[in-house]
């Protein structure tokens, strides 16, 4: 290991970061703004996904069991239903329990004493993990022995799936646009820092530095500027989460905000990585413009 070389390289990176401090601050600032926008959007998207998941867990598939079925096979039926792909939860509601529930529900509105016989079947109430799985689960359950009929809110499921699909496509488009915008802003700013040093690049070429050697410090700078910018953005996001979310969560109790810090750490790491990567790529491209002979 030649420490003199390492020292020279780090010295070059550091000197350039500090010498063009104003320019580097601009780069860091624009990375921070871009990454903060992206991070906010990703956070909102994740929260929305959590909210919709929670709301959709209310959608149930009801399997009405035949009165003529083999009662001893019921525990096997419940187990088989629970083992179907996408099923989150299965509850068995007996005729008697069903009638009691109905009576409780209608009390005060209808004279339930008129219900002298029990017209209700035994029922399995099934919840899916994802709303998209509901139709498939319904079909699978219907085919099981002992199941007379299956019902679920088919129209609602279809509508929700359409909305979710559209939201996902729009969300993806917005993310792509934000990433492109961030990349543009960052690479333009880095191009300015490279431009301010085109003399240095020309001299390096003149004395026989290879293109890769010329690129290296610039890429290191891009990584440093990108990471610093992302770090600023992540700090902002974490602070916002820490300060604002508890208040929001109290106001809007039906939304399950991810208030625990660990929930955001993978997102924070992804954003830091994105900042560093974008900085490196932007530097690579910007320097390339001055390396053509």
């Amino acid at each position: 290991m030649d420490w003199g070389k390492v020292k020279f390289f780090l010295g070059e990176v550091f000197a350039n970061l500090t010498r063009n401090a104003a320019m580097q601050l601009t780069a860091i600032g624009s990375v921070a703004v871009a990454i903060a926008m992206l991070g906010t959007f990703l956070f909102v998207q994740r929260t929305a996904a959590a909210v919709s998941d929670q709301a959709l867990q209310q959608i149930e598939v009801s399997a009405f069991l035949s009165d003529k079925r083999d009662l001893k096979a019921d525990s096997g039926l419940i187990a088989r239903t629970g083992a179907l792909p996408g099923v989150a939860h299965v509850a068995y509601v007996s005729k008697a329990q069903g009638l009691k529930d109905l009576r409780d529900k209608l009390r005060g509105e209808v004279d339930t004493s008129l219900l002298t016989t029990n017209p209700l079947p035994d029922v399995l109430r099934i919840r899916a993990r994802h709303v998209a799985d509901v139709p498939a689960i319904a079909d699978a359950v219907k085919a099981l022995p002992g199941v007379a009929d299956v019902q679920y809110a088919a129209k609602t499921v279809q509508r929700v799936m359409n909305v979710l699909g559209a939201a996902q496509r729009v969300g993806l488009a917005v993310i792509v646009l934000l990433v492109l915008a961030a990349f543009q802003i960052i690479s333009n700013t880095i191009r300015l820092t490279v431009y301010s040093r085109r003399r240095e690049i020309a001299i390096m070429q003149l004395v026989g530095a290879t293109n890769n050697y010329i690129r290296l410090p610039f890429i290191a700078e891009g990584v440093v500027a990108g990471s610093l910018g992302a770090a600023v953005a992540v700090t902002l996001l974490l602070t916002a989460q820490h300060e604002l979310l508890p208040a929001l969560a109290q106001l809007i109790t039906f939304i399950p905000f991810p208030t625990q810090a660990p929930d955001l750490i993978p997102l924070a790491l992804q954003l830091l990585g994105a900042g560093a990567l974008v900085g490196a790529i932007a530097s690579w491209i910007s320097v390339g413009r001055y390396l053509r002979v």
Binding site: D2, E200, A202, I203, Q205, L206, V207, G208, T210
Partner: protein
Amino acid sequence: MIELRNVSLLYPNGVRALDAVDLKIEKGEFVFLVGHSGTGKSSLLRLLYREQVPTTGDVYVDGIAVHRMRAGAIPRLRRNVGVVFQDFKLLGGKTIWENVAFALQVTGARTKDVMRQVPRCLDLVGLAQKSRMFPSELSGGEQQRAAIARALVNNPKILLCDEPTGNLDPSNTTEIMELLQRINTKGTTVVVATHNQAVVDRMRKRVVRLENGRIVGDEERGFYFLGLGQGQVLSG
């Protein structure tokens, strides 16, 4: 060491910078390229360190066919060819030591070599005492000597100088030319493009004269103006 065969250089704007130039420079020679501004002196030098590629013709430097060289091979050529300019091209943010060391460091040289070569070159140009100063703190002549030290730090076989004294007063000019002469006597081939008549006439070296991109004269121990004095024309 240097050979141009039927070299023409046509710039995209239609200007013919060089026109069917044939030139041969042997190892260890000291050659002046003279002629008015815009006659192709700088263009000719640029061909030799592959800043320009000839439109037609062959360029050989130290046995390498520069005219058909891959871009990836350029750095190796440039480590063998030192270049000095009228405007010095020093980095203002670095000290003299750092400017000279830079040329070695960016080629990935070992620290041991940097520590040995830099003082040697600074000694050679007489700037050992001023190595910690910045270019702006030095006179023009001193800055040019620093630039020469930088050009020599890779131990090039060839030193190309494009109007090296264009920004200097007569006494600094004399110093720089004496320095170039000293470098030449140590075995480095030196090519100097200039339109400084006094310098050329005093040094009495080989003079290659360019006019409108053509070589119109080539004399051993020549003068700035064609055949001045002895009238000996050793066309080449």
